[in-house]
């Protein structure tokens, strides 16, 4: 890498009285990239972000921004800005005063503040709204003002704490694209935390999946989706059908598992093969499963299944299948084409998938 990374965390750890919120997290975010931290609530991602912003002090480890350690720097002196979960726009100030707040703290002359505020509001697509009050704006506009308030300070790193959480679904979809284009426009490093995997997948250059205070995997959206490092990532990123069972046979990377319900399935092992007899989990993406009304020849995963229900949702339609013996259910993307169009409850279909597209992990903690 030619340019040094904007943000570097080295073995960052945060202990609270009775538990460890962040456990030896290390990562680098290169200049101008969009980095997401994805994890369920309570995984420690907010604590991590607040440590970067300076609102919490790490127990151990180091934190560098543009190569300089930030450990002894107070929150008001760090070259990072933060977009808060509920945006934290000051209700007692108008938009111009809000956006100019940071510049006023730095003692920038009033005339310069005015031009810079005007310019940044223009860049986020809201020119001339300086005199409006916060509550006169829509949710999406508030979002952009919150970003403008940070960007006017030209921070090295912009932190975003689930800023889309409070928006309704439609606006959220729209803001995903908008945020990504704003990031490209400002060419600033964004660190974005969310529990919503689709937000992370759509916007990010790199994503870290966080679980129980640790980073399970860092990679691009594609890597996380197609090559998950462990069972948690496989289950958390994207939809997947999950089967638990025991390993019965191993052939290179190909593993055969008998599920608890008695079905025999094959999958590709990732990161080391489990031993025979060990507990294992198999993950299969709904879109990796092919459906047919006639039995395909010699595919190891083919089992006849009964349609439990059809969940029609246009192009995203799904079908729930039940395996008659074990009762295990399977969620499959339902193509709205051909003879599958008329599929109804109670029909029997054959579902099969290429073992190379299913993932097998040894069950953790056994």
């Amino acid at each position: 890498m030619t340019t040094p990374a904007d943000l570097v965390c080295k073995d960052l750890t945060k202990d609270f009285d009775d538990f460890r919120a962040v456990d030896q997290v290390s990562f680098e975010v290169p200049q101008g990239s969009f980095f997401s931290i994805l994890g369920p609530s309570g995984c420690g991602k907010t604590t991590l972000l607040r440590m970067i912003a300076g609102f919490q002090f790490p127990t151990s480890g180091d934190l560098l921004i543009k190569g300089k350690s930030m450990i002894d720097v107070g929150p008001s002196k760090r070259p990072v800005s933060m977009v808060f979960q509920h945006l934290a726009l000051f209700p007692m100030m108008n938009i111009g005063k809000n956006v100019g707040f940071g510049l006023r703290q730095r003692g920038v002359p009033a005339s310069e503040i005015k031009t810079r505020v005007g310019r940044v509001l223009e860049r986020v697509g809201l020119p001339g709204i300086e005199d409006r009050q916060v509550d006169q704006l829509s949710g999406g506009q508030k979002q952009r003002v919150a970003i403008a308030r940070c960007m006017v300070l030209e921070p090295d790193v912009l932190l975003l704490d689930e800023p889309l959480g409070a928006l309704d679904l439609k606006l959220r979809e729209h803001m995903k694209i908008e945020l990504k284009s704003l990031q490209a426009e400002f060419n600033t490093t964004f660190v974005y935390i969310t529990h919503d995997q689709s937000e992370a997948l759509v916007m990010s250059d790199n994503i870290a999946v966080m679980n129980k205070g640790r980073f399970d995997q860092i990679g691009t959206a594609k890597e996380l989706y197609y090559e998950p490092a462990n069972a948690f990532v496989a289950g958390f990123v994207g939809d997947a059908n999950k089967f638990s069972g025991k390993v019965m046979g191993i052939d290179g990377q190909r593993v055969t598992v008998t599920t608890n319900g008695g079905a025999e399935l094959s999958a590709q092992a990732m990161h080391g093969t489990p031993s025979i007899g060990a507990d294992a989990q198999i993950f299969v993406r709904p879109e990796a499963i092919a459906l047919s009304k006639t039995a395909p020849t010699d595919n190891p995963n083919t089992i006849p299944r009964i349609v439990d229900s059809v969940l029609f949702n246009g192009a995203n339609s799904m079908v729930l299948l039940r395996e008659p013996q074990s009762g295990e259910t399977l969620q499959v993307t339902l193509p709205q084409t051909g003879d599958l169009l008329g599929l109804g409850k109670g029909d029997t279909v054959f579902a099969d998938w290429d073992p190379a597209q299913a993932r097998c992990f040894a069950t953790e903690g056994t």
Binding site: P75, S76, K77, S81, Q85, A88, F90, G102
Partner: protein, 284 residues
Amino acid sequence: MIPTIPQTNVLKWSYRAYVTLFFIYLALPLTVVCVFAFNDSVFPSLPWEGFTMAWFFGTEAPFIGVFNERSIMRAIGTSAFVAMWVAGLAVFVGTCNAFLFVRHDFRGKGFLYILMLLPLIIPGVILGISILVFASSVANTLEDATNMWFDGLRPGLLLVILGQFSFITTFATLVISARLQKFDPSLEEAALNLGASKWGAVRQVTLPFLFPAIMGAGVVAVLMSFENFNTTLMLVGSDSPLTITMFDKLKHGSTPVLNAVSLLLMIISAALGLLALLFQRSKE
């Protein structure tokens, strides 16, 4: 019971009649006080002798109006002086207390909070005599030790101010705390994040947010101080505030000039009340 549940008409109307009667009961004494301020008679009672403004502006005995009655005007001045000090002190200490109780966790917090609430359940007379006794014993000790006079600790305006302050602060603390509790701490963090100092964030973001509550508490404190009787009675010296002056006059038989003062008081209170209400409004 509630509008969506049908009731018999008799019940409905007798309920309404009761509530109406209640509000008449509420308004009656205040109305007569106001009306008799304009009675052209030396007693605030029937019969009605005709309308006059003499009890406000009169200059000749016995019709000396409020504005020309030296003792009453001086008492109003004293009351205003006391009220300003009480309100200022109570709001300052109340704001500090609000920050302490809302923002900090420390050992003995629960105990101190209960102690802070106690002035609400101590009768005003007791509050008055306890401060009187304590201040006097401090004064005695100091005078014995130094051979100097400590008149400030004898009944007088300083003790009146301290006595009123001692319980009005609790109200101020409760009002300001309630507002501070609604404050989203991330606003202050945002200010820090944008480069403000700790005190700068409080001054530019938190205090403006608290302003309506601080003003509201101030207005209520002024009113409570103006109206206070029980605590003041025990601590008053030669300069008496308005309520005490009026009480003395009332004991020696009343003239409608008291009605006129009362009416003025009501107008001032109503104005202050509206002011407080406006501040409450601007909260939303």
